[in-house]
């Protein structure tokens, strides 16, 4: 049995999942901190 399709699938899932959570966390952080900064400036 050729192992490489299984290896490529495992790496693709791990990398896509990790990148996805990094991007989601980064955008959520940036959006929330910008909102907080905007409110602070208004005061």
């Amino acid at each position: 049995m050729n192992h490489w399709p299984f290896i490529i699938a495992a790496y693709a899932i791990a990398i896509a999942g990790t990148l996805g959570v990094v991007l989601a966390s980064f955008t959520a952080m940036r959006r929330a901190e910008r909102q907080a900064d905007a409110l602070t400036r208004r005061d």
């Binding site: 290896i7 990790t18 966390s25 980064f26 952080m29 409110l39």
Partner: protein, 238 residues
């Protein structure tokens, strides 16, 4: 730990630490996975499929370490009422669940060419699946608590009680000697050949640093959201 009870003090450390953890972790992952795919030799028994270990083992470690983090944070929330403890636990839950899922999927992809099956109701596999479901339940509970705006003791208690599963996962390969192999790395050393071992250590450290960056980013987002909500409430009251 009480030094970080002040969110402003925590943020003054978390802000510079986040990019360092993120970029150093990402660089280590690239080096380790590159070596795991193209440099290390195939295993004499498993063949090429051994390369899946470089993503599977860090994911398994982070799935378990994540819940340990939730349990410690929940205990700090219940005992010392640490103001950042529930924020930390909520920040860990989603990446912890993701890495538990990656562990299960990559393990299945390793199992098919090695064991001849994607899934077996083996002690290690089943207890890891239970951990994934515990994460989903914790996310649902803590989200409901956050919507109510309560201190959310229920999810904290759930976080502590769910930690029972961590030693079950760890010792499952000794208690039920079924399909999953026993421990390869312990305090006494490693059974893995050094030519295969070093990318695994670099990959595990790299993923751990990136996990730290993810948790810090999620904590910063939760703290900023809480700040916005508090300010909007005050503005409405005025």
């Amino acid at each position: 730990m009480h030094i970080f009870a002040n969110p402003a003090r925590f943020l003054s450390i978390a802000r510079p630490l986040t990019p360092w953890f993120g970029w150093v972790g990402a660089l280590m992952i690239v080096v380790a996975l590159g070596a795991g795919l193209f440099v290390t030799p195939p295993d004499y028994l498993q063949g090429e499929s051994v390369r899946i270990m470089y993503v599977h083992v860090p994911a398994a470690w982070l799935g378990m370490a994540g819940w340990s983090g939730i349990a410690i944070s929940s205990l700090m929330q219940l005992v010392w009422r640490h103001p950042l403890a529930s924020v930390a636990a909520r920040a860990i839950a989603v990446p912890g669940a993701l890495f538990a899922a990656i562990c299960l999927v990559t393990g299945s992809l390793w199992g098919r060419p090695t064991w001849g099956t994607y899934w077996e109701w083996d002690g290690r596999l089943t207890s890891m699946l239970v951990l994934f479901f515990l994460y989903l339940a914790y996310i649902a509970l803590s989200s409901a608590g956050a919507e109510r705006g309560s201190n959310d003791r229920v999810s904290a208690i759930f976080g502590v009680v769910g930690a029972i599963n961590i030693p079950i996962i760890h010792f499952s390969v000794e208690w039920w000697r079924t399909l999953h192999q026993g421990q390869s790395i312990g305090l006494g050393g490693s059974k893995i050949d050094p030519s295969l071992l070093w990318p695994l250590l670099v990959s595990t450290l790299g993923f751990s640093l990136l996990f730290g960056a993810i948790v810090l980013m999620r904590m910063r987002a939760l703290l900023a959201q809480a700040k916005v909500e508090a300010r909007l409430k005050r503005m409405t009251a005025e």
